[in-house]
Symmetry: C2
Subunit: 414 residues, 2 copies
């Protein structure tokens, strides 16, 4: 069993507004801030929460496709401009498709465990409303095995991958109840996002999101097994946090009760050259969740909060089974029984998740861990979850590609 | 002073042929292998050098712009296809422009120091002959601050950045001797590459490379202060190696004398939003070299080999001053006095460097460290350097952007 050789804490969580279709501030034809703006806004909002920013030893930034959405690589070299403490310090950009944010967190954990840093600034960012959705979908297809899968594939590559998974799930476990659970997933995402002022769907006023979620898939207009309401939207956003050792927290001037501890990490990679063995399972996600829970020494039943990767409603359902909250085929029941509600057995995606909060692809894993810190320190505002007795743990799961790069983190108040 | 908390060794160095204009095998209009081919060829050639590949715990891959050159992101998900030992293990892609390879090495060092891995496969790769040079130059401009610097900049963005640096150096220290030193740098690169069967310039038969190197810059045809012979070419290639703890070497079945130890790491980031303070200095490079030498507890005069980042002849010269081998303004003398020759005071770029071996951008830092391992274990073939008494150390310096992300490693036989 792999363990963490020293204590690692997260603090100073920050988010920009998650901008895109649905937000009042968003206008598709008006100029919008560049990617640097997002990096600086989230990063500086995080740094502003510590008394002594000079204690920051390193920086890590997670991003998926700024090289194409913004023609900008080399994002780590923006970190010394976030705060001068990072001038000539080690800074690293990591990428693992939509798992890039989780990868940024794990890379920062490693730097602390390596005794090379006591405090690491972690930023996730993606600004992808720079191109039309159809072109964006082709860019994001770079998370698949492009030369093998994309050539004859669907224009909306990833939505189609998960439409196929949804179809397989309907065939194996029944369509009607699954569709209702997907609609419920959508509705909870919107309802939670309405309580979150930073969320892309914060302004959503749909009087009946459950009915909207039941919109019939239309193969001619979009995809065979899912509708647009089963998909996360296109989002511009950044999130940030600081990871620190015990010594690092002291140097930063952050009290222990403003931080949460990382007690489990699961980082698993699947083979991009292979198709999923079973379309109704997310095997790499399951391995990652098992690794994180195992390191924490807990079972899924002890989770008082889950932030999971619902790039699509079906991946939300599959992730509940992967983490072990529901048996195979039973995730629809778990959702329809209300267990993922903010006051349910295991509150899930309390700030809206990828569908409600938004999904700036390479940022999401940082957003999730920042959310866990906010929740575990009681600073989640109207999205605050009450951790039930005996369930003091929160977990995030962040997935890149079609179940290929998966990062899970278990956290708790120390 | 930061130190490495445990011993980290490099072993199993491997390179593909570095393909591009100049190699006999290269034809601009014939189909060439895709990026996966390079990853698999280098990675498997490395893995084949260890007795027990199942001991590999993690993988790291460095790449700059596959997202644009190859429309392929998510490269870490190819690592489980290199060898099945990496199935569901942690795999990470890092990017720091042309410093991506060095970043991959440092990220792997961290995983070992963190006690999360005993052996890490490290691959660097770039396949960039997929587009015309002019478009490629625009892609690589993503290593600069694109929205600020590129808009009104030169089509050949980075060559122009270093042409400007060369002009400033001529003005301050004299043009004639500097141009002669740049030509000598070019000639040594070609001569060393001819001894290296994997090098892009291996087939170069120019009878007088010193004269070629003196080609006058032509501002109308290319740039004001440098000619095409002052520039590294466009290269497709991959290199690989394995980093391991002492325990890891045993588990891999690699004897100590087939490995070299990393005794110094310097990783420094400069601010992408700022222009160089002094065009005749590479400050971030100097900081990185000082950090690596400091951690190793040695001075530059103890280096028996330097693999440095000569993306341009002028950056080669500037790096000699940054590392402290020559005083400011004295690098031309250092080179013209023969001190960088393979039998000189500090053999430099013994396998050809970026100009001779080739410069697959995001791969180069891995190539350099793989070269150090080959040299320190006496397996560098016709490029083998004899380490003089009292100079048992080898150093690599890998630079991303215009002196922004710099990784230096000092290594020695243990």
């Amino acid at each position: 069993m792999i363990t963490l050789r020293k204590k690692v804490y997260g603090c100073a969580p920050a988010h920009t507004i998650y901008l895109g279709p649905g937000r009042k501030e968003f206008h598709p034809k008006k100029p919008r801030p560049g990617i640097e703006h997002y990096i600086f806004e989230a990063g500086r909002a995080s740094v502003a929460q510590v008394s002594n920013p000079d204690a920051i030893d390193q920086g890590v930034i997670g991003n998926f496709m700024a090289s194409r959405f913004n023609r900008q690589g080399h994002l780590a070299a923006f970190l010394p401009a976030v705060h001068e403490s990072l001038h000539h310090k080690p800074c690293t950009r990591v990428e693992g498709a939509c798992g890039s944010g989780g990868l940024a967190v794990s890379t920062a954990v490693n730097a602390i465990l390596a005794d090379l840093a006591d405090a690491v600034l972690v930023i996730g960012v993606e600004v992808q409303n720079t191109v039309k959705a159809m072109y964006g979908a082709d860019i994001l297809a770079g998370a698949g095995h492009y030369s093998r899968e994309r050539k004859n594939g669907h224009a909306f590559f990833f939505p189609n991958c998960f439409s196929i998974r949804a179809g397989a799930y309907y065939d194996k476990y029944g369509r009607e109840r699954t569709r209702r659970a997907m609609a419920e997933w959508y509705a909870l995402a919107i309802e939670n996002a309405r309580r979150n002022p930073n969320a892309q769907e914060h302004h959503n006023r749909d009087p009946n999101p459950r009915a909207t979620g039941m919109t019939e898939p239309n193969a001619k207009a979009f995809l065979e097994h899912i509708s647009v309401f089963d998909c996360s939207k296109v989002t511009d956003g950044a999130s940030a946090l600081i990871l620190a050792s015990e010594e690092g927290l002291k140097k930063l001037g952050v009290p222990l009760d403003r931080s949460a501890r990382i007690v489990g990490v699961g980082h698993c990679e699947g083979d991009l050259t292979k198709d999923p063995a079973d379309l109704t399972r997310q095997d790499t996600t399951a391995a990652s969740a098992a690794a994180a829970l195992g390191m924490a020494g807990i079972s899924a039943s002890e989770l008082g909060l889950l932030e999971t990767h619902d790039c699509f409603t079906i991946s939300g359902l599959l992730s509940l089974e992967a983490v072990g909250l529901a048996e195979p085929g039973k995730a629809p029941d778990y959702v329809l029984d209300g267990r993922t509600r903010i006051d349910g057995e295991c509150p899930t995606n309390a700030t809206g998740g990828l569908i409600g909060f938004g999904h700036p692809t390479g940022c999401t894993g940082v957003r999730q861990v920042a959310d866990l810190i906010q929740q575990l320190t009681g600073r989640a505002g109207d999205c605050q979850v009450k951790f039930p007795t005996g369930k003091p743990y929160a977990m995030s799961m962040n997935m890149g590609g079609n179940d290929k790069t998966v990062l899970s983190f278990v956290m708790a108040a120390d």
